[in-house]
C-alpha cells in the first residue's frame, strides 16, 4: 500500500479473458459512484482476466460496498460467465500487481478452478425452525424446561438467573434436535449436487448449505427446494438464495 491510492485496484473476481463487463443503468442505486465498482475493467493475462474497479478513498466495508461486490459478480454469473469470486475486500496496489502477482502467479490454478465452476451456479439453502413450533416441541419433550417458564403475570418477576437458565436449556434442547432435522433435509438432496455446509449462526438454524448446481439442473433444484418447504411447512422455514457465484466452492490460491 505504498503507491498512490488512485492506482489501487479492487478485485471482484477472476473471469475468462474477453468477458463482457457487467452493465447497469447509470443511475442504478445499487452502484454508486463512490463504490468499488467505479471504473470497472478487465486486466487480462493470457486466457484469464481480473475484473477490477477503483476503490473509493476511504476504508471499505459499508453496506453499499458489499452490495456492489455482490451485484457485479451476480451480473457476471447471470450472463453465464464462469467467475471465481474474490473474498470481499481484496485490494491490490495497481494494475501491474494484479497482472503479475495475481494472474501470472496463479494462472494454472485459476484456469482449473474456472473450469470447475463453468456452467454452474451456487444456491444457498438456509433452513431454520419455525420458532413457535420448535419451542412447543422442546417444552413437550422437556417438562423440566416447561416448569421454568414464567407463567405468571408481568409482575411476578422471575429472577434474571432463572430466565438465563431457561434460555440456556432451550438452546441446548435445540442443539439436540438439530442434527436429525439437518440430516433429513440434506438427505433429500441425495448426492446429486456438490455441497458445502456453512456454519449456522443462530440456535434456531437447522442448516445452512451451499449447493453447486449445473445450469441445466437449476429448475429441478429449485423445485426440489420448494418441495422440501412444502413437506416441512409449519416446522421448518426455508430460504433459498441464488443463483450466485460459487462463493463457497473456491478455495485459497
Amino acid at each position: 500500500m505504498t503507491t498512490s491510492v488512485d492506482s489501487w485496484c479492487y478485485v471482484f473476481g477472476i473471469v475468462p479473458a474477453g468477458t463482457a463487463l457487467p452493465t447497469w443503468s447509470e443511475n442504478d442505486p445499487a452502484i454508486s459512484r463512490d463504490s468499488p465498482a467505479a471504473r470497472l475493467r478487465l486486466i487480462e493475462v493470457g486466457e484469464l482476466a481480473a475484473l477490477v474497479g477503483t476503490p473509493p478513498h476511504r476504508s471499505i466495508g459499508r453496506a453499499a460496498d458489499l452490495l456492489a461486490h455482490d451485484r457485479v459478480l451476480a451480473e457476471v454469473v447471470a450472463n453465464g460467465t464462469p467467475v471465481l469470486p474474490m473474498r470481499f475486500g481484496a485490494v491490490m496496489t495497481d494494475e501491474a500487481a494484479v497482472a503479475r502477482e495475481l494472474l501470472e502467479e496463479h494462472q494454472a490454478e485459476f484456469a482449473t478452478a474456472l473450469n470447475s465452476v463453468r456452467g454452474r451456479v451456487q444456491y444457498t439453502v438456509k433452513v431454520r425452525y419455525e420458532q413457535d413450533a420448535v419451542l412447543r416441541q422442546v417444552l413437550a419433550e422437556h417438562p423440566e424446561i416447561d416448569r421454568l417458564r414464567d407463567l405468571g403475570s408481568a409482575e411476578s418477576a422471575h429472577t434474571f438467573q432463572r430466565q438465563l437458565q431457561l434460555g440456556e436449556l432451550v438452546v441446548r434442547a435445540l442443539e439436540q434436535l438439530r442434527p436429525a432435522d439437518a440430516a433429513a433435509v440434506l438427505g433429500e438432496f441425495g448426492d446429486e449436487f456438490e455441497v458445502r455446509l456453512r456454519e449456522t449462526s443462530s440456535p434456531e438454524d437447522v442448516l445452512d448449505a451451499a449447493f453447486l448446481v449445473d445450469a441445466d439442473q437449476v429448475t429441478g433444484f429449485e423445485r426440489r427446494v420448494e418441495g422440501l418447504g412444502e413437506r416441512h411447512a409449519g416446522w421448518l422455514r426455508i430460504r433459498l438464495l441464488g443463483p450466485s457465484p460459487a462463493y463457497d466452492f473456491v478455495g485459497e490460491a
Partner: protein, 152 residues
C-alpha cells in the same frame, strides 16, 4: 440484487429478490477466493465486521431471547395441556407462516451496524437495505455504539 432471479414470494419457501443486505453479508462475508499473503492484497476494514457477524451463540443475549420467546408462548397457547395434546397441536401450529420475531439475531445486528455507519451514503442504501431495517433490538444499538467506522 441478482438480476436474472425472478421475484418470488409466498409459496412454501422464502425467495428474496433482490437480496437484502443481510443476505448479501451472509453470502459473501468470509467466502470467496483468498490469495496468499505474498500478494499485496489487503482486506480493508472488515475484520471487525466479521467478528460481529459471528456473534457468539451461547451468549446471555441469546439465552434471554429464547427465555422470552418461550415465556411468550403462554400468551396464546398454554392451557395446561398434557403432553400428548401438546405434541399434536404442535404439528398443526406454527404453520401460519409467522415470521419469527426473534429470528434474525446476528444478521440484524450486522445490518443495523451498516446503517449505523452508513449515513451520508443514503443513495446507495435505498430499497433493499431499507426494507431490511430490522425490528430494533437493544443489543444492536449496543453493538453499534462500539463501532467507529471510517470517516469521509
Amino acid at each position: 440484487m441478482t438480476s436474472g432471479v425472478q421475484q418470488r414470494r409466498g409459496g412454501y419457501i422464502d425467495r428474496p429478490s433482490p437480496s437484502s443486505l443481510a443476505d448479501v453479508v451472509e453470502i459473501i462475508l468470509d467466502k470467496g477466493l483468498v490469495i496468499d499473503a505474498y500478494v499485496r492484497v489487503s482486506i480493508v476494514g472488515i475484520e471487525i465486521l466479521t467478528i460481529d457477524a459471528r456473534i457468539v451463540i451461547a451468549s446471555v443475549d441469546t439465552y434471554l431471547r429464547f427465555a422470552e420467546a418461550t415465556n411468550r408462548l403462554d400468551l396464546y397457547e398454554h392451557g395446561g395441556k398434557d403432553l400428548g395434546e401438546m405434541t399434536q397441536s404442535m404439528s398443526q401450529g406454527g404453520a401460519k407462516g409467522k415470521t419469527s420475531g426473534a429470528i434474525e439475531g446476528a444478521k440484524e445486528k450486522v445490518s443495523e451496524l451498516f446503517h449505523g455507519s452508513d449515513d451520508g451514503d443514503d443513495e446507495s442504501g435505498n430499497g433493499s437495505s431499507a426494507r431490511q431495517r430490522p425490528r430494533s433490538r437493544q443489543t444492536a444499538a449496543r453493538r453499534r455504539s462500539r463501532r467507529e467506522d471510517d470517516g469521509e
